[in-house]
Amino acid sequence: MPNYAVEVKDLRKFFGEVRAVDGLSFSVGEGEIFGLLGPNGAGKTTALRIIATLLTPSEGEVRVFGRDVVRDKDEVRKLISYLPEEAGAYKYLTGYEYLSFMAKVYGVSDEAVRDGVRLSGLGNALGRYVSTYSKGMKRRLQVARALMVKPKLAILDEPTSGLDVAHAVYLRKAIRDYVRKYEVTVILSSHNMLEVEDLCDRVALINRGRIAAQGTPEELMSEYRAKNLEEVFVRVVGDALGLD
C-alpha cells in the first residue's frame, strides 16, 4: 500500500443547505505537488481548510500522513503549514520579526529563518514594518513563512493570486526549488493554468464539490485532446458553467 501524504475519502461539507464539498475523493503522494483546479465556488478553499484542520468534515474522512484531521488535529497542525488565499501579516512587526515568530511557533532553528529570508527575496526590506510592503512583497513573505519551517505538507491556496507577472514567476520558482530540495509535499489551488502546468505533478479538476477529472497535466491534455490545461478546464467544467 503506497504512503499517502493526504487521503481524502468521500468528503462532504455542508453550510446549511449549501453543499460546498459533495463527495470529494483524492490522494496525494509524499513529495508530490498536487494541484486543485476549479471555478469559483467549486469547493477548493473549503477542502483545503478541512485539510488544514480549520473546518471539520460533515461526512467522509481526511488523513494527513495517516492522522485524522478531526481526531488528531493537534498532531496534524505540527505537520502542515497553511497559506490562505488572503493571508495578512502583523503590520507593526518587521518582516524579519514575523519570520522569527513563526520559527518559534514551529520550534525550528534560526537556520529556518535564514531560509525564510532567502526564500522571500525581500533583502533589507525585511527590516521594515510589514505595513510598508506592497501586495507582492506581503505574498512573498507569506510563502517564505509557509515553506521555511519545512512542513511535511504545505497547503497553498492561490499562492500567486493577484500578483503581477514578475512576482508570480519569482514565487513559482521559489516554491518549486524549495519543495524539491526539502521533499515537501504540496497541495495547492490555483486559477492560473500556467502555474499549475508549471508546478504540479498531478492535478484534480473540481466542479460543484466533486472531482471532475484527475491526472498528470500531460494525461489530462491527452485525454481531452487539448493543447494546454486551460482547454482541459473549459472542456471539463465549461459546459457546466454554460461557457462555450
Binding site: L54, L83, A87, G88, K91, V105
Partner: protein
C-alpha cells in the same frame, strides 16, 4: 443635491440597527438608569436620617463629657435624656478623652462641655461645646445622616437652653440669639475629623471609583480590537492553523491587552495620586465659633492614613486584575466575532452597558442602603467592576462583600476565558462569522427590494 446627499447619508446610517442602539437607546438607558439611581439614593438617604433619629431613641447612647458641674451640664444631660435611650455623664472629663471613649464604646454621640460653661451661661456669654458623632462608613448616606443628626442635636440643644435659662431671667429667648456654639466633629475609623471631611471624602472617592470604570472600558475595547484586527488584517486563519493551543492564543491576547491596559492603569494611578495629593494638602477656610477665620486641611492626613490598610490595597489590586481579565476575555469574544475593528467598536459600544450601568450604580448608590439581598444582586451585576465594589464595601464597612466579589468575578472571568478559547475552535468561529455576514447580506437584499 445637498438634500439628496443628506437623505442618502441618513438612510445609510439609520438603517443600521447598531447605530440606533448605540446612539439612541444606550444614552436613554444609561441616563434613565442614572436618574433612577440618584432618586433612589436621595430617598434612601432621607429615610436613613429619620431611621437613625428613631434608633437613638430606642438604643442610642449619648455621653456627656464635662469639665463643668453646674447648671449648663444639667441642661445638656436633661436635653440628651429627651433624645436618647441612655445618657451617661462623666465629670472631670477632658476633651482629649473623647476619641478613646468613641473608639471603645458603642456611643452614638459624645458632647463635650468645657470648664466654666455654667458661668458663661449666667453671664449670657456663649458656651462652646463639642459634639462628636461616630461612624465607620464614608458614604453619601452616612455623611448626610451624620450631618443631619449633629445639626439637629445642636439646634435643639440651643433652643432648649435658650428657652429654659433665659425665661428664668425674665428675658425673651429672641433677645439672645445663640447661647450655645457647637463645634461638630466626626470620629471616623480612629481619627477625629471635620464633618465636611466625610462628604468631601465620599465626593472625592467618586473620582477614584470612576478610574476603574474608565480603565475597564479601555480594556474591553483594547482586547476586542486586538482580536478584530486579526480578522481585518487576515491573520486569524493563519494563526488558527498554527500548532498552538487555543487557550494559549487567548492567553497571549489577554496578556498583550493587559500589558497595554496596565500602562494606562499606571498612568491613571499617577494621575489619581496627584489628584489625591492635591485634595490631601488643599486647605479650606472655615468660620470658627469665635468668628475668626481658620485654615485647615480638607482631608486630614490621619483620615487618609487610617483608610489605607494592606488588606484593602491587596484586595483592590486583585479585584482590578480579575475585572480586567474578565473584561478582556469578553473583548476577545466580541472581537473574534467582528470582521473588522469598526464592527468590534460598535459591538463594544453596545455591550459597554455591562460595565457602565453597574459602575454608575456603584459609584452613586450606597451599598449599606440596599441590604444583603441588594448587595448580593450588585455583586452579581458587577463582575467587571469589582474594584469599585471593593472600594465601596471597604468605605461602608461591609466586610463580606469583598471576598464574595473577588470569588464571583474570578469565576466569571474564568468562564469567559474558557468560552473564548472554545470559540476559537475555528469551525465554530468561522460559522458564526459566516452567519453574521449572511444576516448582514440578507438585510442589504431586503433593503434593496424595498427601494
Amino acid at each position: 443635491m445637498l438634500w439628496d446627499l443628506t437623505k442618502k447619508e441618513l438612510r445609510n446610517t439609520l438603517r443600521d440597527k447598531k447605530i440606533i442602539i448605540t446612539s439612541v437607546l444606550m444614552p436613554l438607558i444609561i441616563f434613565g438608569v442614572m436618574g433612577l439611581v440618584y432618586g433612589f439614593a436621595f430617598s434612601k438617604a432621607g429615610h436613613e436620617v429619620k431611621e437613625s433619629v428613631s434608633r437613638i431613641r430606642e438604643e442610642g447612647t449619648i455621653v456627656v463629657c464635662s469639665m463643668d458641674s453646674g447648671l449648663f451640664t444639667n441642661l445638656v444631660v436633661n436635653f440628651s435624656k429627651s433624645l436618647a435611650h441612655e445618657v451617661r455623664v462623666i465629670y472631670g472629663c477632658t476633651e482629649s478623652r473623647i476619641p478613646g471613649l468613641l473608639a471603645k464604646e458603642n456611643i452614638t454621640l459624645a458632647v463635650y462641655v468645657p470648664e466654666g460653661a455654667s458661668e458663661n451661661l449666667t453671664e449670657l456669654k456663649p458656651v462652646k461645646v463639642g459634639v462628636y458623632a461616630r461612624t465607620d462608613k464614608a458614604s453619601f448616606t452616612s455623611s448626610m445622616t451624620l450631618n443631619s443628626l449633629m445639626s439637629a442635636y445642636t439646634t435643639s440643644l440651643t433652643s432648649y437652653v435658650r428657652t429654659k435659662i433665659l425665661a428664668s431671667k425674665g428675658l425673651q429667648p429672641s433677645e439672645v440669639i445663640s447661647p450655645v456654639r457647637a463645634e461638630e466633629k466626626v470620629f471616623f475609623r480612629g481619627a477625629i475629623t471635620e464633618p465636611n471631611t466625610l462628604s468631601e471624602l465620599s465626593g472625592s472617592l467618586i473620582m477614584f471609583a470612576f478610574a476603574p470604570l474608565i480603565v475597564v472600558s479601555m480594556a474591553l475595547g483594547q482586547a476586542a480590537s486586538s482580536m478584530a484586527v486579526e480578522n481585518e488584517e487576515k491573520t486569524l486563519e493563519v494563526l488558527l492553523s498554527l500548532p498552538i493551543s487555543r487557550i494559549k492564543i487567548v492567553l497571549g491576547k489577554l496578556m498583550g491587552s493587559l500589558v497595554v491596559v496596565l500602562l494606562s492603569t499606571i498612568s491613571f494611578g499617577a494621575g489619581l495620586a496627584i489628584y489625591g495629593y492635591s485634595i490631601l494638602y488643599s486647605t479650606t477656610s472655615t468660620l470658627s465659633y469665635a468668628g475668626a477665620t481658620e485654615t485647615q486641611p480638607v482631608l486630614t492626613a490621619s483620615v487618609m492614613t487610617n483608610l489605607i490598610n494592606p488588606w484593602f490595597v491587596v484586595t483592590l489590586i486583585a479585584g482590578t486584575f480579575i475585572s480586567l481579565l474578565g473584561v478582556a476575555s469578553l473583548g476577545i469574544l466580541l472581537g473574534s466575532l467582528a470582521p473588522d475593528v469598526r464592527t468590534s467598536s460598535t459591538l463594544v459600544g453596545q455591550l459597554s452597558f455591562l460595565v457602565i450601568i453597574p459602575g454608575f450604580l456603584l459609584v452613586f448608590l450606597d451599598l449599606s442602603t440596599l441590604g444583603p439581598a441588594g448587595q448580593a444582586i450588585m455583586i452579581a451585576l458587577s463582575p467587571f467592576v469589582a474594584p469599585i465594589l471593593i472600594l465601596k464595601a471597604y468605605l461602608e464597612n461591609i466586610p463580606w462583600v469583598t471576598p464574595a466579589t473577588l470569588l464571583w468575578s474570578l469565576a466569571f472571568a474564568g468562564t469567559l476565558l474558557y468560552t473564548s478559547s472554545k470559540l476559537l475552535n475555528s469551525e465554530r468561529l468561522l460559522t458564526l462569522q459566516h452567519k453574521l455576514l449572511h444576516r448582514k447580506l440578507k438585510t442589504r437584499v431586503k433593503t434593496k427590494h424595498k427601494q
